[in-house]
Amino acid sequence: MSGERLDGLSVRDVRVTFDGFTAVDGVSLEVPAGDIRFLIGPNGAGKTTLVDAITGLVRATGSVRFGDEELLGRPVHRISRLGIGRTFQTSTVFEELSVLQNLDIAAGARRSWATLARRRRGVPDEIAAALETIGLTERAAHLAGTLAHGQKQWLEIGMLLVQDARLLLLDEPVAGMSHEERDATGTLLETVSRDRTVVVIEHDMDFLRRFARSVTVLHAGRVLSEGTVAQVQADPRVQEVYLGHPVDAGSARTGLEA
């Protein structure tokens, strides 16, 4: 996978409207190649809807480019084949299939029908590597439904890796995870961002402080603030809207350096 092109995501004036309600109201943001960008904002800020728009799940106006490719207007599976992978708030691994089968399916979108008609023999190299990366080598033969919550999330990330996604859109990847699991997930994100661009929707501020390289704050469908963790936390508008009340800069900074 190294040696592949590293691309950035460029969102320009994206607007999503449901029955007159504007969920995303002219969002523009640039995620440079190799970034780990966190999208934060209160409930209903339009974070997930924005990811839905990027991945083709909802119709949107404006422009979303990944590298040289315009994404808006393409069907979901075509966008996916351009190297855009996403996870969902609730884990959506295939519970009746083994971990290995889950990864094998994720790796196979470009397979010919002739390959599909045959059985899998052994473990393909890229799948073995992904199993190693997500720490599930031991559990390859287990049904995905028997995995712990955190492991399911890692499996989802592993599926994006073998899918050859070059842009990872992760919707609350550490929700419901233990502290150790969060740390492992953060390390995993740092590993995969070496040759990929990562966008994370997350509510967990501690996780954000530790692993975000840049942050975009959404509020009511618009970009409220953008920058490094320190810049965003120092922004009085963010303190007002996102935290609900102004916080003195001192305590925010302390939290950052912890």
Partner: protein
């Protein structure tokens, strides 16, 4: 990307796996078991059944095995693919009528017209669309290809528009109703309600001769085994895994870069082909094809057999279909009129208490033997999950 491993703290966090596939089960042994299974099936169908059963009962078994072929297809489309098709009668009928048309024309001899057309007396010559069926080279492939083409056309429209679940079931059932109405309405060329009856010969063999009836039975049994082998390959292939993934998470599969519509389409078309072949072989076995055999009621009965046997397994649909068809005959002989109620009751009981069908009982019993494993899920969902689990190949 291999350099850094986050080494998630996996040991501390989770309980022992409940339904783990035993890792590293030797592939050779499982193949041996399969071969033994097929050999056993062949021995029962080709040696035991003809020896034990009277000609009458053997002819009935031939009929049941045709139903079982439809069931194998439904097992793929519904059990593995999640498409509850309540209209397999359409494809069964297309195959059956294609075969019956050819046999009627062969009975009538060169240039002749089938008896019923002369009877109704509206036609001076054979309708144009009957003519190609005079040739076995057209009629035989048509019994399979015609249903597949119709399924392809219908499936392309339906799956791309993301029609699924109950909507798909109702749509497929409506199709069965429409087909029956069409056949009855075109009495002059289709035989109407009577259907195509009195089929006497099968490629030069007299079907009244018990020896030839026996031959038809052998052809049917062999075809069923071949379809089972094909289905086994399909289930264990990468496509088979993908089909289950589409059943359980269609949207997720879409986000992995597949088009679920084409994945489902293949399973639907294969199921239709199997139903068509079953219909074609049903005609020489029973000597008739009629709207009553392909409408809504038989279409639902096909599904009941599959549900009873276990829809997600390889053998469940076959055994379920044969068992239900056999029970129907046995009970109708003794208590005419009660079968419909019993059948309904059976379906309700299976759906409510044993969603994985009888096959899940087998899996449950086998698991008990292996040893008491922790049980996390409720009994009901357990039945279903275990039934499906038995077909998940070892990694």
């Amino acid at each position: 990307m291999t350099a850094v491993t986050p080494a998630p703290p996996s040991t501390a966090v989770h309980p022992a796996p409940v339904g783990a596939v035993p890792p590293g089960r030797p592939a050779g042994r499982s193949r041996l078991r399969t071969l033994a299974g097929f050999a056993f099936g062949a021995a029962v169908l080709f040696a035991v059944a003809p020896l034990v059963l009277s000609d009458f009962r053997l002819a009935l078994l031939a009929k049941y095995l045709c139903v079982a072929m439809v069931a194998v297809g439904i097992g793929i489309a519904w059990g593995r693919g999640g498409m509850l098709t309540l209209g397999q009668g359409v494809f069964f009928g297309l195959g059956g009528y294609a075969m019956a048309m050819h046999l009627k024309l062969a009975d009538a001899g060169p240039g002749g017209m089938p008896d019923f057309m002369q009877l109704y007396g509206q036609l001076d010559e054979l309708p144009l669309w009957w003519r190609p069926f005079a040739s076995p080279w057209f009629a035989l492939p048509a019994t399979v290809l015609l249903p597949m083409i119709v399924a392809f056309g219908l499936g392309s429209l339906v799956f791309r528009r993301r029609v699924r679940g109950a909507y798909f079931a109702i749509l497929s059932q409506a199709l069965a109703a429409a087909m029956v109405i069409l056949l009855i309405g075109q009495q002059g060329t289709t035989g109407g309600t009577n259907g195509l009856t009195d089929i006497k010969g099968f490629f030069g063999y007299d079907l009244d001769d018990p020896v030839n009836q026996r031959m038809v039975y052998f052809v049917i049994a062999g075809t069923l085994l071949a379809l089972l082998a094909l289905t086994r390959q399909l289930i264990h292939s990468r496509y088979g895994e993908l089909l289950v993934a589409v059943r359980d998470g269609e949207e997720r599969v879409r986000f992995l870069g597949y088009d679920p519509a084409s994945v489902k389409l293949v399973a639907y078309v294969v199921a239709a082909g199997m139903a068509g072949l079953a219909g074609a072989l049903f005609v020489p076995a029973v000597g008739i094809i009629s709207p009553a055999l392909i409408g809504i009621v038989p279409s639902i009965e096909f599904v009941i057999g599959v549900a009873v046997g276990g829809r997600a397994t390889l053998l469940g649909p076959v055994l379920g279909a044969v068992a239900v068809a056999w029970a129907r005959t046995a009970l109708s002989e003794r208590f005419p009129g009660t079968w419909t109620y019993l059948q309904g009751l059976l379906f309700v009981v299976v759906v409510a208490f044993l969603p994985g069908g009888l096959a899940s009982l087998w899996a449950l019993a086998r698991r008990r033997d292996v040893g008491a494993r922790p049980v996390r899920r409720g009994w009901l969902s357990l039945g279903r999950r275990r039934a499906e689990r038995t077909e998940v190949p070892a990694a």
